[in-house]
Symmetry: C2
Subunit: 417 residues, 2 copies
């Protein structure tokens, strides 16, 4: 295959997007099914080429975490297929009538959901983003331009080619799914200039990458920044449940954006809770850093600095603060949190309602692990990321979030008076 | 009154926004009613101070158009009050449950609408933006920071003070409505840096102003760029209706964003339509500029250049192009249009549906004047602008468009497995 320039790709995407906007739900769902089938038919080749890239990554000294993210084993591959097939079964995000009415003068007005157009996805090593992003974009009638990390170039190429084959077989335009295959940073720079053709960029990766992209382009960017997630244990929390929720929120996976980073414990239950929590976290090898009051109750923990309250550790470290009550907890979260995911453990309805109302975050969890915030548990099927923006998409970004709307008015010679 | 710094204003707004997010619908609606009452009680003083600023503007040699925009007469004043009272009667945009379900494991998940937070409005001379913007922001539970043009400083100060009095009387926080009273461009520069406190900026003014703001700030900007609006007269259009719609779209007001700028006429009816159109536009003193084919039929019109198809005249000039059919019309609009408002005149359902589906614009009008696109006819009540963005808000920006949402999940000790 030749490697078209980024501008050619972007222009082709714009044309494909126009065709995609008129495709029926059944064609788009058939495409998703055929994309999964087509991937399945080259499973062995994909796993082989991926194994070669994994070996090369190890040789090049990439971190164990990066190598893990790069790897497609049977389980990951199956998961990729399952998600494509699942997103096919979701309700159509397009052509929903969001509101509508007929004016007294007879003008019929309605607002309906339509695709955004062309979506650019810039991501690092995980090849599952290739299939997840393509799936969510095709479901929502958008053309997608994929740009993955160089360490996964061969894997991503094979994944993309298989998906294109399936999509075209179902009747989608040839350029509905495209991939920038030119290596090097310049290609990303080119993509950032394509504001005439690309409607939105979704970078997946470190905060630095996202910030750089947002600052270097006029294309709107859906951003996925920090998850400085909190759990507040209210005075009336059931102790055993509070410990379980805190441990699951922190330990189920420490490197993810909805993992717990700061635990807030009400002073009225701190004396009882903190020793129980320390025992549980010690058993999970979590380093605890505490405020002055927490240290008084747990003398052997590390003191937490101001810096700790601002930190997304993504590591087996947890900061603990004793707070005077729910107001102080809410104030701390709204001040230091990143608006990603925050939870409360309480038996009180009024606590739950106040917390739900006043916490300014994408996800607010009541008596549930912070790890449950996300597309899966929210019923979105596949997602392309978790937005920490407040405009357009907030929280998990699935097919619905990749739509916009248009206003349509039917008249019969209606004029403005 | 003292003049707090922009940073103090921004910080106060953030705190007010937190309180506002918990206010009930009835308190917000009462505030809107009291804001209108309070304005009414100082009607005479407002008209007086405005008359002084209008006189000064004339003296300073401001254009007639700017002076007109600056002027509040009895009718404009009444309109401002009416809009505040109307927006009070609209359904509550907050706490709507947008979707929800209970997972098989019993986790209850829902998504509800919440305010964006702090909205900054940067605008030029029209003082009615002061009341419209405050009304839409308060309705949607947002704190607002107003920054109008220096030529209307006294008028805006008096309007804002009256509204604050009414809002506070109804029980809203003191800083729910604020105005930057410091003169000079530096204050706007300061506001652009307040990304820790301000959630969105809405500039109202020329394209240059909007572009500059969007490029100089990290705060998300809802942009209101060009309206290069089209009307396509299909081969089967009823001639008299087509002429009426074209004239109303162009002439009802030439200086507004949804006024017609380019008329597309199907070649199969061009011979019949163009002389009728010319006669009607001549009667309205509109200069016509045509493509080659249009000139063949109307030899005395000005030739249109490539530049014309890209131009938002906002003036009594109209470009006319003869097109081969609906595909060419759609292609022209999607290529040269600005995605604001585009219409078709046709008797054919399949034409109407194809046009509706394939035109990539915020507003698509079938057999209705382009001048009907907007908050009023779409039933939004008051608006703060018309967005030409595709993300978040597209088209008229009313109370609903100034909300975001949060995901809320209620569990009973739910963990991630």
């Amino acid at each position: 295959m030749n490697t078209p320039s980024v501008q050619v790709i972007a222009r082709q995407s714009r044309l494909a997007a126009r065709q995609l906007s008129s495709t029926s739900e059944s064609v788009r769902n058939l495409a998703l099914a055929k994309m999964a089938d087509s991937l399945e038919s080259v499973r062995r080749q994909i796993l082989e080429i991926n194994a070669q890239e994994v070996a090369k990554a190890r040789q090049d000294g990439l971190s164990a975490a990066m190598v893990k993210r790069l790897t497609i084993d049977d389980k990951v591959f199956q998961y990729m297929l399952t998600r494509l097939r699942k997103v096919a079964r979701r309700p159509d995000p397009l052509n929903r009538v969001l509101e509508g009415h007929t004016n007294p003068n007879g003008l019929q007005v309605y607002k309906k959901s339509v695709p955004l157009g062309v979506i650019g996805i810039i991501y690092e090593s995980r090849p599952n983003v290739t299939t997840d992003a393509a799936g969510v974009c095709i479901k929502s009638g958008n053309a997608v331009i994929l740009r993955g990390g160089s360490e996964a170039l061969q894997t991503n190429t094979m994944l993309t080619d298989a998906m294109i084959e399936g999509a075209v077989e179902a009747g989608l335009p040839e350029h509905a799914i495209q991939m920038i295959r030119v290596p090097g940073h310049e290609a990303v720079g080119e993509l950032l200039k394509m504001d005439d053709y690309v409607d939105v960029l979704i970078p997946r990766g470190g905060k630095g990458l996202i910030r750089r992209i947002a600052e270097e382009t006029r294309i709107p960017v859906i951003k996925h920044y920090d998850g400085i997630c909190h759990l507040y244990i209210a005075a009336d929390a059931v102790p055993a449940q509070a410990v379980e929720l805190a441990v699951n929120s922190k330990c189920q996976s420490v490197q993810v954006c909805n993992a717990l980073e700061t635990l807030l414990v009400d002073q009225r239950c701190a004396e009882q809770m903190l020793p129980l929590l320390q025992k549980a976290f010690d058993a999970n090898d979590i380093e605890l850093r505490g405020c002055g009051k927490a240290q008084q109750l747990l003398p052997d923990i590390v003191p937490a600095s101001e810096e700790d309250w601002h930190t997304e550790y993504l590591a087996p470290i947890l900061s603990i603060k004793v707070v005077g009550g729910i107001e102080e907890a809410i104030d701390h979260i709204n001040t230091y949190g990143s608006g990603h995911t925050d939870g409360i453990v309480t038996q009180s309805l009024s606590n739950a309602q106040q917390f739900e109302q006043q916490i300014d975050s994408a996800s607010v969890l009541i008596n549930a692990s912070t790890r449950l915030s996300g597309g899966g548990d929210y019923g979105l099927g596949s997602v392309v990321g978790i937005s920490t923006d407040k405009l357009h998409a907030r929280g998990p970004v699935g097919p619905d979030e990749l739509t916009t709307y248009k206003w349509v008015a039917y008249g019969n010679g209606h004029l403005r008076g």
